[in-house]
Amino acid sequence: MNGSLHLWLIPLLPFAGFLVNGLLGRRLPKWTITTVALLAPLAAFGVVLNAAAWIYLRGTIQAAPACAMCGPGPGFGFPYVETCPFPWINIAALQVDFSFVLDQLSLVMLLVVTGVGFLIHIYSVGYMSDEEGYARYFSYLNLFLFFMTLLVLAGNALLMFVGWEGVGLASYLLIGFYFQKKSAADAGKKAFIVNRIGDFGFLIGMFLLLANFGTLTFTEIAAKLGMDPGWNGGVVTVIALCLLLGAAGKSAQLPLYIWLPDAMEGPTPVSALIHAATMVTAGVYMIARTHVLFDHSPFALGVVAIVGAATALFAATIGLVQNDIKRVLAYSTISQLGYMFLGCGVAAYSAAIFHLVTHAFFKALLFLAAGAVIHAVGGEQDLRKMGGLWKKLPVTFAVTTVGVLAIAGFFPFAGFFSKDAILFAAFQQGAGGKALWFVGLVTALLTSFYIFRLWYLAFLGKPRSESAHLHSTPWSMLAPLVILALLSIAGGWIGIERFAAFLAPSVGARAVAAGSAHLELILSLVAVAVALEGWLIADKLYRRKPERATQWAAALPGSYKLLANKYFVDEFYGATVVKPLLGASKYFLEWVVDVGLLGGMAWLLAGIATLSGTILQRWQSGNLRSYAAWLAAGAAAVLLFLVVPWADILASLSAMHFGVVGH
């Protein structure tokens, strides 16, 4: 097979869809918009599948060298690199190409992004059918896929950064899709601004990479790191921490997670695609992509693990008491992303990516199911006003149940395998790892509780509000739900061993402690027991003794208030960061700089012009003879200048001068 895999088509097809719908969408009939919007990701998915088939046929799973990142194969080798013939940036030592890299890692990501992305596009056709801005919505969605695939395929940090910023833009546009609503517009801004903080870290990390390695290409960085064992700690730690800041911004980790819950202002399929399945996992992907840096800095890895574990626990506790169905899922997403960071932090990158994949399945499923519920009950998102929906929405109920079981980590659903892999990897990392494992286990309990709480409140019990008639759910929404439900069941069956072996060329293989099969089994049993426990608590509080939940909340008013208000983090940031910044903008930037400095300068210039005009306009007397006199005087001056031999006079003057000195 000597042809090209045409990787460049993967981002450019959605981009074409974006251009068509974005520029012509207003004039196109609806079915054309739908066709274009769906064909673009479908075709991209086809290209990805073609690439996957190629890799499978070549049998690269066995044939790949131990660390393919360390040296790209010659020519049409593997990892497969596709480079634009023209360099992008070529300044002195800095050479950056448009290069796309297909290795196991990017292949897995691409399959998730384009596959789940396509399903969510289909779902959106049903969900958004009555909305204003149908074409705008799909053009943004395609734009997102363009940038996301660019991010995944990028062979160097700078191109990845372009995709990174681009998905941020698409996220901003889609969060603020209902821009007439102030809360949505504000949420978009918040997401964008908080992400800027992370991007700042990413940028600094890139500058440091460039300064220390002279290249931004991932493979070259890995090769340089591999050549010199002296690269340990120090600058590598700083770079890794900068990149971690970027990842924490994009993946909503502590302390930058605050934008994700607000991002739920966007349409629900957007929450599923961008804020659950794909974009927010970009941070995890980035860490896996630059894992060599983290591998050379145990400190940075430890920070990643602690940030991940802390976020997982923190977000899960907030999720316990949220009443907005989408907010529960948003905090759940933050929590699950924390798991992935925990996996990265214990160097179990393949486990983290495994959880990324399964999470993409079941969280997209849960979000889309929530969207179906919201769609059916006419826009209501408050769990307290739902209830008893299982009879009216049987399919949605069934798929949600699958998603709930998957995220809670019940065997044999997808979440069980991946969460288990992460917890197992953490457990093996000494005493600190056991502490992280324990945090993860507690989080698993909380996860199981809040997700079953959602399940009980939304679907079981008695209807708590009168919804006269429910909107029917169209097939275009049900089909993706069913497919995702199947994936949420079966997605984990590949098993972490095979998955890790497949990914090993990209992210390195981890040595598994000998004789750990029993240990793994025990840990799995513990995890499932914990998940069961969470279910039982939820069952007790929300089915058997519904009054108990309010009693507990009343008994612990402080804790409940703390959780219901999300630990007052928004208020804290508001008081410590936002308010001082706004104050500085208002009093210093607006009044001192803008009004005082810039405005003052403008007034000064205008004043000078006015004043000189007032003086000079006296010339404009209208008196013909005074004009003539000035004309004559000017002519006389010119004559004087031309006729009088100034040069000679000056020369003789200076001669006289020297003569005097000479004597």
Partner: protein, 106 residues
Amino acid sequence: MNFLSQEVPISWYLLLSAVLFSLGVVGFLIKRNLITVFMSIELMLNAVNLSFVTFAHQWHAVKGQIFVFFVMMVAAAEAAVGLAIIIAVFRTRATLAVDRIDLMKL
């Protein structure tokens, strides 16, 4: 006879030209009647014509002579336009005093 047959020196012509020009300038500046001002302009033009002719004679070049024709032609056109303006001004303002005609100010 001898005295008469001698050529008048070039400088005399030029001096006359300069004197005429200066008279024109002074007249332009101090006279108040618009028609007199106008005549002062004609005087300046003709002073210049005289120096053109003088130099043309001096250098045996015909260009200066041709220039004089141009100037005369322009002067004729200018006279026509200028007199028309003067009549128009007089009709509207009933005066020809330059100091009273001060429409060209802010």
